[in-house]
């Protein structure tokens, strides 16, 4: 049948939001206790778990800094994006 109804059925719409970033979160694994609070609060879903380790992906991170602001251990700092 023809594609008569407006349907989004050909893959996922994904914007390159990494390009928005002017500062990036950097995690100090010596301070991090892998509590996951940053993961639970990241609006972009850019923080993930690998086993017990909490890690930051930079694929779509917009650099909002919420993770750094909310980290109870001050383990994340926002550093200038170098492109």
């Amino acid at each position: 049948m023809r594609h008569v109804t407006p349907l989004g059925n050909q893959g996922m719409y994904i914007l390159d939001t990494a390009a928005w970033r002017v500062v990036r979160p950097v995690m100090d694994k010596n301070r991090c206790v892998n509590c996951g609070i940053c993961l639970s609060l990241c609006p972009v879903g850019s923080i993930y778990a690998e086993g017990k380790q909490i890690l930051i992906s930079y694929d779509y991170c917009k650099g909002c800094g919420l993770c750094a602001a909310e980290c109870p251990k001050q383990a994340i700092t926002m550093e200038a994006e170098v492109k």
Binding site: L7, Y13, L15, T17, V44, G45, L66
Partner: protein
Amino acid sequence: MSYIDTIKKLPQVMTPGSSACQGCGGELITRRVMQLAGNNSVFAVPPGCMAGAGVDGWSYQNGCTAPIHITLLDNTASFLSGVSEMYQRKGRGDVNIVAIAGDGATADCGFQSLSGAAERGAKMLYVCYDNEGYMNTGFQRSSTTSLGSRTSTTPAGSAINGKEQNAKYLPLIMSMHNIEYCATASPSHMMDMVGKIKRGLECSKRGFAYLHIFSPCPTGWSFRPDESIDVARRAVRSNIFPLWECERGRYYLSFDNREPITVREFVKSIGKFASLGEAELNALQASTDSRWALIKRLCER
């Protein structure tokens, strides 16, 4: 399993690359609701920030991994009523029927359809991310905009200073529809919010479930993106946004705010309140106090 383990484990449903603003409360809420509802769901996201962010898709592409429809601004609940009825008829009541709508689509022009669906007990979870205005179209006032807020249609003028009216307190209005479940939540209290989303989904199998979630908006309210969660936390701690839930007519306080901060402490750093004078602050404090007193009385046993 702790709520953080739950979040760790469940796959994302919403696109990883959405055009929501940096530090957007709405994106965090939408992402969490979609993740917890999962792919065995039908979502409706009406026009608003999240639709604008691309959750409803672009051209031939979907903005999430589940079926989704951008409903009209004013028919989200009635559209989903129809979807819900069909899934019951098909014997597939396991499918989650979920609305994620802003305050305009919920409290203003969408309110008639919302009230109708709630009264009928339509089986769905309706989530309102309340960023207190029409933020997707340039920060215009809505009925949930709080007193004294500066918006593009209630500017801080020399004749009139910001919004002149108190916010419509929608969650209580919704609970008065005798719905299955009604709760408020804030992303600053994520464990509570995750629990309420899960409870809302469970209750949506029996009737209408409504969640009203505080959604801080760095762009429209003028504060730094990394302050979003702190703003939400201050809203709860100042009783601007009390956390409670109501299941089948019984009210429960989710966060007994024994040492509240003042409204003055809430509004600091938020640009939309920058021009509030002493009188307006006192009025906002008074209305906040009286609402908190009402909520506390409802929750007394």
